[in-house]
């Protein structure tokens, strides 16, 4: 349909041009042809830019959603460990036996790792590694406290793997 219209338009234009040729100079003629011949390219280009802008917006929104979700998971995980460590520290603080002192030392180390983790900076190159160290320390502390590490109901690590 479009093709025929184009062809008709082209024929029509040509006729007018022939007539126009006799009237005006050569320039107008070239522009007319150019605008038809390059129409495909022009529309393609316009379409591309429009699509690109729309895609960029969509991408940004999706990225924001993704980031928010991951950030929330990471924060949930870290604050879980934080609350856990603070609670146990309170419970064991007054004990003086060697076992409790060892456990407190491990809890302090866990709190230290939490404090120093670059959780406010998602671009930090050490974030992944530090999170791994933190998780490993948490598992060790749980082992020392004889707590089974089945917290599936409470948290999921930001990797998506079940804790």
């Amino acid at each position: 349909m479009v093709h025929r219209r184009f062809t008709d338009a082209l024929t029509g234009r040509k006729e007018k041009q022939m007539a126009g040729k006799q009237m005006a100079g050569g320039h107008a003629q070239d522009d007319l042809f150019d605008s038809i011949l390059l129409a495909d390219e022009r529309f393609r280009g316009e379409g591309y830019h429009e699509g690109f802008e729309r895609g960029k917006c969509r991408g940004l929104r999706e990225g924001q959603r993704h980031g928010a979700s991951h950030g929330a998971k990471l924060s949930t995980e870290i604050s879980f460990y934080h609350g856990f460590a603070i609670t146990w520290k309170c419970l064991l603080q007054t004990n003086t036996d060697i076992k409790s002192r060892k456990r407190l030392k491990a809890l302090e180390a866990l709190l230290g790792l939490i404090q120093n983790s670059p959780h406010e900076d998602p671009q930090s190159p050490t974030l992944q590694g530090d999170m791994e160290k933190l998780r490993a320390k948490f598992r060790q502390v749980c082992s020392m406290l004889n707590i089974p590490t089945d917290f599936k109901d409470y948290i999921k690590t930001s990797e998506g793997t079940s804790f």
Partner: protein
């Protein structure tokens, strides 16, 4: 070849199942075997034959993958696919379960005692290596959890003289750990194998490490002192390739004679000897003996008797374990 490997005895240790691992006790008088039948069997010599002295059943819910004797010989640790490590205490001729170490998320692939007897290492498919400390009251406590590997950790082994730990993984790497401020950290990553590293073995002095891999090669690594002083530097000084038709599942360096034994998925057992003429930085090993059909299926483990030179134990997917004698005429 002047040397030979001859069969002493074959035992159907784990009928209708796989025999995954065999381990000699420190005095060389007993062999512990474990398998897919969830059991551990202790074998002792009576005259010329090896007989089953006791069966440790009900300790695990799934396959027992490896067993390890404590340096004093009074304890046995077993690593299982049921995610636990069981510590057994010897009581006369029998063993009783002392404690169960939990914590790994899934299958425990290996357990190893440090030469000091105070430390235990376990590794698992959950990609982590755990170091446990034992105190005077037989209480076990986890001191470190390390996540240096990116895949299943297949094997852990302690250095014979230093407090140093090595691990091998499905991620093709070997990690070396040292303790720093009560925490064990990966100090060096040995890359070179192009597939899973299944096993590791230090030589008698601990200066060299042998590794067996799914890439069908055995690599020999040597430690080089670093100018910086702290960090360790290990380089591959030799690669044995072209000998194994399939995966090398286990390597064992004899502490008495210095020969290297290998267990392979091609059903063969091989013994390699180092050429005397070559220097320590470029060792050359040659095949001293081999039994191409040592078992009817994959050979999973090789272990040298720590006291009797030349006595070798092997085990296989066919459920058997076998005792061999390596001799040089």
């Amino acid at each position: 070849m002047k040397e030979a490997l001859s069969l002493v005895q074959r035992v159907n240790a784990h009928p209708d199942s796989r025999c995954w691992f065999v381990s000699w006790n420190p005095s060389g008088s007993l062999v512990a075997s474990c398998g897919g039948d969830k059991a551990i069997r202790i074998w002792g010599r009576e005259g010329d034959s090896w007989i089953c002295k006791s069966v440790l059943q009900d300790g695990h819910q799934r396959t027992v993958r490896k067993v390890a004797w404590s340096p004093c010989g009074n304890y046995l640790a077993s690593a299982s696919f049921d995610a636990t490590t069981c510590i057994w205490k010897k009581k006369d001729d029998d063993f009783e379960s002392l404690t169960v170490l939990e914590g790994h998320e899934n299958e425990v692939k290996c357990v190893a005692w440090a030469p000091s007897g105070n430390l235990l290492a376990t590794c698992s498919r959950d990609k982590s290596v755990w170091v446990w400390e034992v105190d005077e009251e037989d209480e076990y406590e986890c001191v470190t959890v390390v996540n240096s590997h990116t895949q299943d950790v297949k094997h852990v082994v302690w250095h014979p003289t230093q407090e140093l730990l090595a691990s091998a993984s499905y991620d093709n790497n070997i990690c070396i750990y040292r303790e720093e401020d009560d925490d064990w950290e990966c100090r060096a990553t040995l890359q070179g194998h192009t597939s899973t590293v299944w096993s590791l073995s230090f030589d008698a002095t601990g200066q060299r490490l042998a590794s067996g891999s799914d890439d069908r090669t055995v690599k020999i690594w040597k430690e080089y002192p670093n100018e910086a002083g702290q960090d360790l530097s290990w380089k591959c000084v030799c690669t044995l390739s072209g000998y194994h038709g399939r995966t090398v599942y286990d390597v064992a360096w004899c502490p008495l004679t210095g020969v290297l034994a290998t267990a392979s998925g091609d059903d063969a057992v091989r013994v390699f000897k180092e050429d005397e003429s070559t220097g320590p930085d470029q060792p050359v090993f040659s095949l001293a003996a081999q039994v191409t059909k040592a078992h009817s299926q994959d050979v999973n483990c090789v272990a040298w008797n720590p006291k009797e030179a030349g006595l070798l134990a092997t085990c296989s997917d066919d459920g058997d374990f076998a005792i061999w004698r390596f001799h040089e005429d």
